[in-house]
Structures are given as C-alpha cells and as structure tokens.
C-alpha cells in the first residue's frame, strides 16, 4: 500500500522551480517599472531645472521676467504652512488616537467613529479646500491667511495621523499597561510614561507620511484662495501666502520656456524640502527607538 501511494506523487521539480523563477522575475520587473518611471521623472526634471537652482533663485520673489523669477515667497510660505499644519495635526491627531484607544468604550459608537475616520482619509483634498474656505476663511474670518491654510491642511491629514497613531498605540503590549497599573500608576501616568514613549516611533512615521502628503497639496489651497503671485514672505500667521506647488503650477502654465525651467527648479526645491523634513523625522524616530531598546 505504501509503495502505491508513493508512486502517486508527480514531483515535477523542474516545473515547480521554473514557476519560482518566473515569479521572482515578475516581482523584479515590477520594481524596475516603478523605480524606472521615478528615475526618468527625476532625471528629466533635474536636466530642465538644475541650471536655475542657485542662490539667486532661492532669494528672489516671482517676476514677470522668467529669468528673474525666484522661489523665495513660495518656499517660506510652504515651510510656514506645513510647519503649522504638521504641529496641529500631530497635537490633535495623537490626542484623538489616545482617546479612541485608551479611553473610549469599545462599543458600536467607537466602531462608527473608527470607520468614518478611515473614510475621511479617502475624501478628495479639494473637498477639504471648500470646507476650509467656508469655515476658516469666511466663517472664522481668518481670511486667505497662513493660518487658514494650515488649518485646512491639518484637517486634511488629521485622519492619517490618527490612524497611524492608533496603530502605534495598539501595538504597545497590554502587559506594559498592566505593569504600570499594578504599581499604582494612574491611567494618565501609564499613558504618558509607558504607552506614548513606546508608540512614539510609530506615531512619528504617521506624521512623516502626513506631512509628505500635505506639502504636495495644491488643490485645497487654491480653492481656499492662496495667491499665485506673491512678492513677499509671510510676516505672520495672518499674512497672505503662496506655497511651492502653487508656484510651480503657475509657472508650468505660462507659455515662456524660461518659466518652465523655473518650474523644474521649483520641483527640485520642493523635493529637497520634502526629503529633508522626512530625514529629520526618521533621524528623530531612530534616536527614540535606540533609546527604548538600549
């Protein structure tokens, strides 16, 4: 009987190995398609724009003459708006996540809230622009200011921050909380001294993602009325402003070749700002992780 069962196997090692190789190759090709496109894009932009990336470009305001146009106003505007939006989204997002994970009862209401936060993350950004226009610009009469722009972008990325923070908080093992409670720590002490430090690297990752998304957003800010031609840097939260993507969009839509070069240079600056913000956050995160693991 054993002999006959053994005969019924058709191992086909060659064919099985071949399938393995094909799958391996498919995965590799997929990577090359993704990375290849990105590389082409970057090279194209770099070739178009690198001649314009210089001190003068960084320190000049926009101009009607393509060769004199600079990025200063948009660069400051972006840093200002994103810095504020990031800080706001971080504060409210983490607080909301703490409430949902540590305080809220696990009932149907919590579930409904949870699902809708997920839905909010998928709402098109232009809708947030309309919301920002109505609430911040008009109703709260903040005008088309840095503050109104920050609030709008903060709202836009808030769901991302909340979801990432919740996951990070949930990943802290219950045994850590029990250990805290068993020593007579209050709920707040347990959260602040045990849960949050351990969740912080994960929370930071969420904030990186959120800020990366916010920095490239154009539509909501255009809807709420950010300017496209700004010959000044923002002098306070109530100042009018523009941001890098809007400036780039404006230059791309001009007919002159010189503005197209300026647009490419602007994209390079945008990427540099984005990457350095991310690098800073990754650095912070790694430092924190090392401190935890010792």
């Amino acid at each position: 009987m054993a002999q006959t069962l053994r005969d019924q196997f058709d191992r086909r090692m060659d064919r099985r190995r071949l399938y393995g190789h094909i799958f391996h190759a498919l995965c590799l090709i997929s990577i090359f398609i993704g990375l290849g496109m990105l590389a082409v894009l970057l090279i194209d932009i770099f070739l178009d724009g690198w001649r314009r990336v210089n001190w003068e470009f960084l320190t000049s305001f926009p101009s009607r003459k393509p060769e004199q146009a600079g990025i200063l106003a948009a660069l400051f505007g972006s840093i200002y708006v994103i810095g504020l939006a990031g800080a706001l989204a971080f504060t409210f997002g983490v607080a909301a996540a703490i409430y949902l994970e540590e305080y809220a009862a696990r009932n149907w209401l919590a579930k409904v809230i949870q699902i809708n936060i997920g839905n909010l993350a998928g709402v098109p950004s232009i809708v947030y622009g309309i919301l920002g226009l109505e609430i911040f610009v008009r109703y709260l009469a903040l005008g088309k200011s840095v503050l109104a722009g920050s609030f709008t972008l903060a709202l836009l990325v808030l769901p991302i921050v909340i979801i990432a923070s919740e996951e990070a908080i949930r990943a802290v093992p219950p045994s850590i909380r029990e250990g805290g409670y068993a020593l007579g720590a209050t709920r707040w002490q347990t959260i602040w001294r045990l849960v949050l430090p351990q969740a912080f690297p994960g929370i930071l990752t969420g904030v990186i993602l959120a800020v990366s998304r916010a920095i490239g957003e154009t539509a909501p800010l255009i809807v709420m009325g950010a300017l496209t031609f700004v010959p000044f840097t923002p002098d306070g939260p109530m100042s009018r402003f523009t941001v890098l993507p809007i400036q780039i969009f404006n230059w791309v839509s001009r007919p002159q070749e010189g503005f197209h070069e300026a647009a490419a240079a602007g994209i390079i600056i945008l990427l540099v700002v984005l990457l350095s913000m991310n690098a800073l956050a990754v650095l912070l995160r790694n430092r924190f992780q090392r401190r935890l693991e010792g």
Partner: protein, 257 residues
Amino acid sequence: MADNASIIETRNLNVFYGRTCVISGVDMEVETHKITAIIGPSGSGKSTLLRCFNRMNDLIPSFHMSGSVLFGGQDLYDASVDPTEIRYQIGMVFQRPNPFPKSIYDNVAFGPRVNGFRGDMNALVEDSIRRAALWDEVKDRLKESALSLSGGQQQRLCIARALAVQPRIILMDEPCSALDPISTLAIEELMRELSNDYSIVIVTHNMQQAARVSDFTAFLNPREDKIAELIEFDETRQIFTNPKDERTEAYITGRFG
C-alpha cells in the same frame, strides 16, 4: 488590622465575565507573612481569582463580581475605593516578565516616581534590587536597558520593581512558567526569603512548586458546568499528605489535570 493573621479574605466571591459565571463561592484567607499557593488545572480560574486581589480584572470591560474581597479588613470593591490607590500596596508579578523598555534603574524607580516618592531614590532602587537578589548581577549596568537582561533576571527585576513601592503583599501569577529550571529555583529561594517581610500569593500550575515553597494551598477546580470552585484550602502539608477531598487527591497524585 484587627488581627494580623490574615491580610486578604474573600467572602462568597463569585466572578462573571459578561453573563458567564467563571468562579463561584470562594471563601479563603491569605495569611500575613506566609506564602499561599493557588493550584488547579488550566481554566480553573486561578489567575482570575488572583487578579481579584488587586482589582486588575477591572481592566476587562465585561468583568463583574459579587461577594467581597477584604484587604486588611477593608472591602476592596467598595464604591469608595479607587483601584489606583490600593494597587501600590499590592504588588504584582506577571506570568511573562514585563520589564518596561527603559533602563534597569528607571524600571525600579518607575513605581516610586508615579507615587511621588521624595526620599533618596538611589538608595531605594539599590535596596529593592538587593531584596530581589539581583544587585550583584546588575550593579554595574543600571543605565542599560532592562531588555538586555535574561528572562530570569527580568523576572527578578519585575519583583524588585514591585518591592520598590513598599507593598504589603505580592501577587505572583505563574512567575516561573516562562523560565528555565535554574531561574525558577532562584525565584523560589527569593520567595522564601521575601516571606519574612511580605505576604505572598502565587498562582502555579506546578504542584511540586506549590509543595516546595508554600505554607498554604488553595485548590481550584472547574465543575462539570465549567464554573470553577474552591475545592479545598488548607495548610500545604495537609493538602499534599492528607487531602480531605478526593478530587484534591486525584489532582495532586496526577490522575488528572
């Protein structure tokens, strides 16, 4: 306390998760400066019972109970009792070592810090680690992460951490089940040592351990309807040499469980 014989006393304690009763009608006492073991097969509610003693079960939303648990004569489940306020008097050591991802020093200092300790922290940390028989192994690396310690060392650190808030009683929930035999022996010796100054309750699935270290033993067993009850509670010597209930005898002689 009126009498210093018992530190914890349960009266007709019933425990429910939602509508399901899991433990029924437990009456037992934990004597001061003695080691009390809770034994029984898996699913007999040993840990659940232990977690009634410091209101750790409060963290489970569906938990509720009836009857009473007296700690030094005070009803732990009285509406006026804040669980946070009683927990520091009742130390707990868990099944898996759960050191915080902080330095060895900060692990021990955590309890005193959250409880507003104003004295000499260095001395308190050293004293606590010494009592947990860990000092010689860690005195030169107090700033290192607690996660760099071995499992047995981590568990002794967790004991030191519990001692640092000056509890009157220590609850241990299968403290050796994740440890090797040598670390287990070290913890058992430590328990005998600690019983001079503290009352100890230990949950264990290991009967030999209960026989080796404890003064009193409580045997829990689930009935046919899965509801656990206290079958027998007596001096350990009695339980292991002359059990009154045949189910106890069957369990300790290894006929089931």
